[in-house]
């Protein structure tokens, strides 16, 4: 304390000023030392945004050695492929995110301005009027119906399972996850009565859609993110073969190009019972999308039972065949669609269906703890040695 006593003795105001300045310098100094980063030698850019209720990260990088323009061999022709500069790379990532946000803006149901396509369709449901909607909104519905036909041709029970018309039922269960009180059967039935994809009418040429049942609402939650990832990937692919990267949207991951060391893309699979740990890692080929539907993603445990967000359009209740299903395809919407469809089916039926659909692999963690996968990906999975699970031969 001697220093303080000394301080008191000296001419007050001058010393006070000096002490003040000293204090400021002492407390703020040492923190200003770190400068900005230098420019990257190899063009590379990562970006994280918060959209569609999740965190999306896009990483894009030029394969080292290519930035000097020595890409003839990779491109395959005599002409060296154009290698994007840092700014072009950043522009591409920006454009990809803008595309995703465009899709999110059209297909979300919680836009405060009530201006999304799905909100306007719900508001006008049943009054007979056609609404102009975006190509994305039309395309997603068309694609869901096409995928449904493809699946139902193999397994009739698959018809109508991935239902984009469950807006009311999903709202009901969202409320349940907040109040932690289970819905009454009448409420479920009332919500189900306001659903059905047969009430969705599309006019592709006119760019219009309408819902013919008053009170119904669409929800693209099962497929919108996969579609957005696919569309973002389409933009990033413009970077050409000299670039590799990844779109990580939580439950949907897409790879872009080949890693520079030639090693396969390695993606971790979350353990549904211990979500801070991993259950397996899988290898993905360039351009593939993996999508996971799991009972641990959005849920509420009520009276010892897990009431999650993947609902049966027939019963109106969560479906408990599996803990998680991961679907892999070259199409983002397809992967997202099938991760939900396969989750909604008894695992054995789902496996048989997945085996006969081209460009589709899948991995199951069933409710009984059984682990298995389609034959096309079996050899590319590394399971963790975990108790509580058993691998099916």
């Amino acid at each position: 304390m001697t220093a303080i006593k000394g301080f008191r003795g000296v001419t007050k105001t001058y010393m006070k000023k000096a002490a003040f300045v000293f204090l400021c310098v002492a407390l703020s100094g040492g923190l200003i030392s770190c400068g900005g980063a230098e420019r990257a030698k190899v063009p590379s850019f990562s970006s994280t945004r918060f959209l569609m209720d999740t965190v999306v990260t896009i990483r894009l990088q030029v394969i080292p050695g290519n930035q000097a323009g020595r890409l003839g061999a990779v491109a395959g022709g005599g002409q060296p492929a154009a290698v994007p500069a840092q700014e072009e790379l950043e522009q591409l990532v920006l454009a990809a995110f803008n595309r995703m946000e465009e899709i999110a803006a059209k297909t979300n149901r919680h836009d405060p301005g009530q201006g999304s396509d799905l909100q306007r369709l719900a508001a006008q449901a049943g009054d007979g009027s056609w609404l102009e909607v975006s190509r994305d909104t039309l395309f997603i519905q068309e694609e869901v119906e096409r995928l449904e036909q493809e699946a139902a041709a193999v397994l009739p029970a698959a018809a109508g399972l991935v239902d984009t018309s469950l807006g009311k039922l999903i709202d009901l269960w969202m409320g349940v996850r907040e109040t932690k009180v289970l819905p009454r059967q009448e409420e479920i039935e009332a919500a189900l009565a306001l659903s059905g994809m047969e009430y969705i009418e599309r006019d592709w040429a006119g760019g219009k859609m309408r819902l013919t049942l008053a009170g119904m609402g669409l929800d693209y939650g099962a497929v919108a993110k996969g579609y957005a990832v696919e569309e973002a990937g389409r933009i990033l692919a413009q970077a050409g073969p000299a670039v590799y990267g990844i779109i990580d949207a939580g439950g949907n991951i897409k790879t872009i190009g080949q890693k520079p060391d030639g090693s396969p893309w390695q993606i971790g699979l979350t353990d549904p019972l211990k979500t801070k740990e991993l259950l397996a890692s899988i290898e993905l080929a360039p351009g593939q999308v993996a999508a996971t539907s799991g009972d641990y993603q959005r849920y509420e445990d009520i009276e010892g039972r897990r009431y999650h967000h993947i609902l049966s359009p027939g019963e109106g209740w969560p479906v408990w065949y599996s803990h998680s299903v991961t679907a892999i395809s070259s199409g983002g919407l397809k992967a997202d669609y099938y991760s939900t469809l396969l989750f909604l089916l008894p695992a054995q039926d789902a496996l048989e269906l997945a085996e006969s659909i081209p460009d589709l692999e899948a991995i199951w963690v069933t409710a009984s703890g059984e682990l298995f996968a389609t034959s096309g990906i079996e050899d590319y999975i590394k399971w963790q040695d975990k108790s509580g699970y058993k691998l099916r031969d």
Binding site: A40, T48, G251, T255, W265, L278, S281
Partner: protein, 136 residues
């Protein structure tokens, strides 16, 4: 008139609290767990990436969107995670320097971004090869 007995006790309590907290952080941050970078914004899901999978050094120009434009991050294996640039007027998160221990965080209040290092049990599945992403 210097510091009275009670004044000194107050001073001692503050110092003791600070040192106790520091000691707690020091000892709790030194377990052999893997570091995971967590990026979050209020009301959104969190992003978690094993630090070992982050793009490194000069290669790691990484933009994170925020309420006021966002921040640029980079990861330097020897030093840690760092905010290179930010859109906030005070640049507080840039002046923060590097974080490299579990529990440390960089907060950008205008951007509503929290960048945090946490220690997770077994996050990357003890694999020999690094993961490129995790399906959540």
């Amino acid at each position: 008139m210097g510091l009275g007995k009670t004044d000194k006790q107050i001073l001692a309590v503050i110092l003791a609290a600070a040192l106790a907290l520091l000691a707690f952080q020091y000892f709790s941050g030194h377990r052999s767990q893997e570091l995971v970078l967590e990026i979050s914004r209020p009301g959104a899901e969190r992003l978690r990436m094993p630090v070992s999978s982050l793009p490194q050094g000069e290669q790691g120009r990484w933009h994170v969107e925020g309420a006021a434009g966002g921040v640029y991050l980079s990861y330097w294996p020897d030093q840690g995670v760092h905010v290179d640039r930010a859109t906030c007027p005070d640049q507080a998160c840039v002046k923060m320097g590097f974080i490299n221990k579990a529990g440390q965080s960089i907060v950008c209040v205008p951007n509503e971004i929290i960048i945090r290092l946490i220690a997770l049990e077994d996050p990357a599945g003890q694999g020999e090869e690094e993961l490129d992403g995790v399906l959540k």
